[in-house]
Symmetry: C2
Amino acid sequence: MSPRTSAAGSLQKSAPVFSALGDETRLRLIALLCAGGALSIAQLTAGTDITRQAVTKHLQVLADAGLVRDLWQGRERLWEFEAGRLDEARRSLDTIAQQWDRALARLKARLED
Amino acid sequence: MSPRTSAAGSLQKSAPVFSALGDETRLRLIALLCAGGALSIAQLTAGTDITRQAVTKHLQVLADAGLVRDLWQGRERLWEFEAGRLDEARRSLDTIAQQWDRALARLKARLED
DNA sequence: GCGTACAGCAACCAATTGGTTGCATATCCG
DNA sequence: CGGATATGCAACCAATTGGTTGCTGTACGC
């Protein structure tokens, strides 16, 4: 990768996380899980207009992205939020924003030159 | 929307932004545009293994999400980064993280009770 | 032990996505 | 003017996605 895209390397790792977050249903699941504790699939499905299987698939996508973790308890499969990858993604956005700010500062400096 | 998902409302608005960011090619474009100034489609295509049209489509996706803006200059169509929506998304992730931290704190308090 | 609630698996479907190719259009420059 | 450059538009394609239905398995509680 060329030098001028040095920041891109670490950025690209976050693509799967952003992709997982890029769906209203999944964002809702994330909001539920990070607010409450661990919830079952049935609980997460209640009140929605989609099927339990659809919710299961969404949870799987979130799990693949490392955003949630599942744990079995009896016949229930509980899902809980996992903060690690989301923090990474958050830092990625921070990096972009900082880079943008620096670019603006450089532009301003050149104009005032 | 139920009270316990109050944070979800503002979150959902960010879904299109996250969706747009959920692709390595588009993340690369964002990195390029927010580092440098305005770049043409030809410039953004150079060095990649995809077609100019593919890049155009990706830029359109980013534009629909409000992450980039285009401006014509002669026969060139220049694209530049636009920080607004990305900042919103950044705050969304911050909100989730804060909510999670509070949940952890409540859990900890209950355990130490 | 038996019904009920929680879940998995697989097949299937329509719509979207990421990408291509071919051709037309407009602008710059010698 | 005429060629090279920068782009748009449309059709087309395969793969992925978001969702469903039908059936099976398993743990809980009366």
